[in-house]
C-alpha cells in the first residue's frame, strides 16, 4: 500500500482535522479506500448532472404562462372503480427504499464474510431494482399512449413531457446500470472472489469486500436521487 505513517500518530478532529488531512502531503481521505473516495467523487459529479436537470425543470415550470399538468391526476391509476392519485409512484418509491435497505445489509454481511447472506441480499436488491425499472416502463407506456410527447401533451405546458422523459429516463438508466453491476458483484461475492483475492476479469486487480460497499454507495445514490425527483417532480 502506498501510504505513509498511518495509525501511528493521533489525528486531530474537527476543523483542525480538515486542515491537517488536506495539508499533510499524503492522501487526503484517511481511513477510506481509494475506490470508495473515487465513487464519492463520481457521485458528486452525478449530483451536479441531476441538479442541472431539476433546475432546468424548475426554470421551465416557473417561466411558462401555460398551466402545468397536475401530476397528482396525470400519474393516478384507475383501480377498483376509482382514481387513486400517484399510487404507482408511491409503490415505486417503497420498492426503491426497500432495495436500499437490503443493499445496506448486504454491505454489512459482506464485511462479516457471510457470503451466502450477502449474495442473497444483493440479488434481492437487484430484483427490487428490476421491479422499479419495470414499473417505470409501464408508466412511460401509459403516458405515451395517452399522448404525452417531449414536445407536447393533452393537459397543458408542453415542457412537461420533455422534463419528465429526461429526468425519469436518466434516473431509470442509472437504476438499470446499477442492476447489471449488482449482478456482477453478487456473482463475485458468491464465488468468494473477495476472500480468495481473485483478480477481476476487467481490471486484473484483487478485490475485497470494500467493493460491495462502493457498489452500495452507487445504489443508495440512485435511491437518493429518487427522493428528490419524487418531491420536486411528482409532489410539487
Amino acid at each position: 500500500m502506498a501510504e505513509t505513517a498511518t495509525g501511528s500518530m493521533a489525528r486531530p478532529d474537527g476543523l483542525q482535522g480538515i486542515v491537517a488531512d488536506w495539508a499533510s502531503d499524503q492522501r487526503s481521505f484517511k481511513n477510506v479506500p481509494w475506490g470508495k473516495a473515487m465513487m464519492w467523487i463520481f457521485l458528486l459529479s452525478d449530483t451536479f448532472i441531476f441538479s442541472c436537470f431539476l433546475l432546468s425543470y424548475m426554470t421551465v415550470r416557473m417561466s411558462t404562462t401555460v398551466p402545468w399538468p397536475n401530476p397528482s391526476e396525470v400519474f393516478a391509476l384507475h383501480i377498483g372503480g376509482q382514481d387513486i392519485p400517484l399510487i404507482l409512484i408511491a409503490i415505486m418509491t417503497f420498492v426503491l427504499i426497500s432495495s436500499s435497505g437490503t443493499m445496506a445489509m448486504a454491505v454489512r454481511f459482506g464485511y462479516a464474510h457471510d457470503r451466502k447472506k450477502s449474495t442473497i441480499l444483493i440479488l434481492l436488491t437487484a430484483m427490487f431494482g428490476a421491479t422499479f425499472v419495470g414499473m417505470q416502463a409501464f408508466e412511460w407506456t401509459k403516458l405515451i399512449l395517452e399522448g404525452v410527447r417531449p414536445w407536447g401533451n393533452p393537459w397543458g405546458a408542453p415542457q412537461f413531457g420533455s422534463t419528465f422523459f429526461m429526468i425519469t429516463g436518466f434516473h431509470g438508466t442509472h437504476v438499470s446500470i446499477g442492476v447489471i453491476f449488482l449482478l456482477i458483484v453478487a456473482r463475485k461475492v458468491w464465488r468468494g472472489d473477495y476472500d480468495t483475492a481473485r483478480r477481476g476479469f476487467f481490471t486484473s486487480r484483487k478485490g475485497n469486500y470494500e467493493i460491495v460497499e462502493t457498489m452500495g454507495l452507487y445504489w443508495h445514490f440512485v435511491d437518493l436521487v429518487w427522493v428528490f425527483i419524487f418531491a420536486f417532480f411528482y409532489l410539487w
Partner: protein
C-alpha cells in the same frame, strides 16, 4: 481503536432507518393524498425530502462515520447549487414577466 474491517454497524440501525424511510415516504404521499396546498404543502414536502435524504446519506452511505475532510469535500459543493437555484429563479421570473407583458 481496535482494527475493524470496513464499516460494521448493527443490523438494527439499518432496519430502523429502513422503517423510518417508509414512514416519511408515507407522510409525503399523504401530503398529496389529502390535497394540502400552498406553503403548507411545499414546506412539508421539502421537510420530508430533507429528512429522507439525510437518513440515506448519513446511515446507508455511512457518512455519519466518515472523517470531516471527506464529509465537507462531498457535501459542501452541492450546497452551492442553491446559488444556481437563486439565479435561475430570478431568470425565470424575468422570462415569465416578459411573456405575460408581450405575449399575454
Amino acid at each position: 481503536m481496535a482494527h475493524v474491517e470496513g464499516q460494521q454497524h448493527p443490523i438494527s440501525v439499518y432496519l430502523w432507518v429502513w422503517f423510518l424511510l417508509f414512514v416519511f415516504s408515507t407522510f409525503s404521499y399523504l401530503v398529496d393524498y389529502f390535497h394540502l396546498v400552498g406553503m403548507l404543502r411545499w414546506s412539508l414536502i421539502v421537510l420530508f425530502m430533507i429528512i429522507k435524504a439525510g437518513f440515506i446519506v448519513a446511515i446507508f452511505m455511512h457518512m455519519a462515520w466518515e472523517r470531516l475532510a471527506l464529509i465537507y469535500a462531498i457535501l459542501v459543493p452541492p450546497a452551492l447549487v442553491l446559488v444556481f437555484v437563486g439565479l435561475m429563479t430570478l431568470e425565470s421570473d424575468y422570462t415569465h414577466f416578459l411573456r405575460t407583458t408581450f405575449f399575454g
